[in-house]
Symmetry: C2
Subunit: 178 residues, 2 copies
Amino acid sequence: MGALSLGEKSGYDLKKDFEHRMGHFWAESLGQIYPTLHRLHREKLVVVRRGGAEGRPERKLYRLTAAGRKALKSWLLEEPERESVRNELLLKLFFGPEMGTETALRHLESLQERLLRRQRVFGGMTQEIESLPVSQEQRAYWHLTLDAGQELCEARLRWCRKSLDRLRKMQASNTSNG
Amino acid sequence: MGALSLGEKSGYDLKKDFEHRMGHFWAESLGQIYPTLHRLHREKLVVVRRGGAEGRPERKLYRLTAAGRKALKSWLLEEPERESVRNELLLKLFFGPEMGTETALRHLESLQERLLRRQRVFGGMTQEIESLPVSQEQRAYWHLTLDAGQELCEARLRWCRKSLDRLRKMQASNTSNG
DNA sequence: TTACGCATGTAAGAGGTTACATGATTTT
DNA sequence: AAAATCATGTAACCTCTTACATGCGTAA
């Protein structure tokens, strides 16, 4: 979790960053962020500065030290660990015979809706990137991660449609036969 | 974790099942499975039976009770929770400017290799399903989950290739300009 | 004889979420 | 006046992985 504070200085803006910019591939709760910042401070990887405008609640602005940037780089060099796979929908679907076709269809339809909503969000983000004051390079990498989200989203949608189709056919043949 | 023991009776075969049949969408460790089985037993959702052939280590075979099957069905009815997103590769890639193109390329190439290997595994599984003694219905749902794995795998590969391409172009233009 | 596969379990600890606690300011 | 947003933090709790402990049988 050392990679939180890269270019800028921030406080609970980190939470916002996680939600708005990295929401589609990473999540972090405040109960995780604050203790981590304290730890990084203890380890001299960040420095704090009091900030915040008049009449606004006080904020603590964190910035990477040279040691912090070094630690970040060495972490970035390491091979990313493979993510643990835990897909509850697929698990339930695997037990489809116990569940019944109607429930399976319901779950799939609800996933489909969520995916369509997310797809619209991606569309908005793609345009938003261009308007933000970041380097061209940062923008390119940002697009890369967004593209991953879109590609996966589309793949899931394709699979959803295909599966809904198959299940409906299954249901139809079972109804007529049994 | 009530859904472990569906049709059959099993012990640490569950672990094998998770690895071989559900490996692409769910993982469960033994340190999780055994305590869970004890809990399910306490809650009268499963019954145990001693088993195992002569000269083989003793095994405990678990089977769902009526109450267990009921609990399973009610769990299957519930809307699956959305999975928590934590993709370390994308997180690191987001910090691409700190990382450098070469490292990004290395990470992506290593992911690509892993995905190609997994794709071959899927190919094998698709054929294997047909040879196993399970119901036609179970087989259909199994195919569904496998199909999800394949679709996602392909999407990731497409994205990998695209990203490698883009990064290589970026690298080339940076080298010639700077 | 060394190691691996079968088989069951426990305990420590890492990692993470949620709820709680506090308090100011701005919007409705 | 109430609710939402900004802002920081703590503590309890849950979940899960890893490592440890044990022991038999078989294959290298």
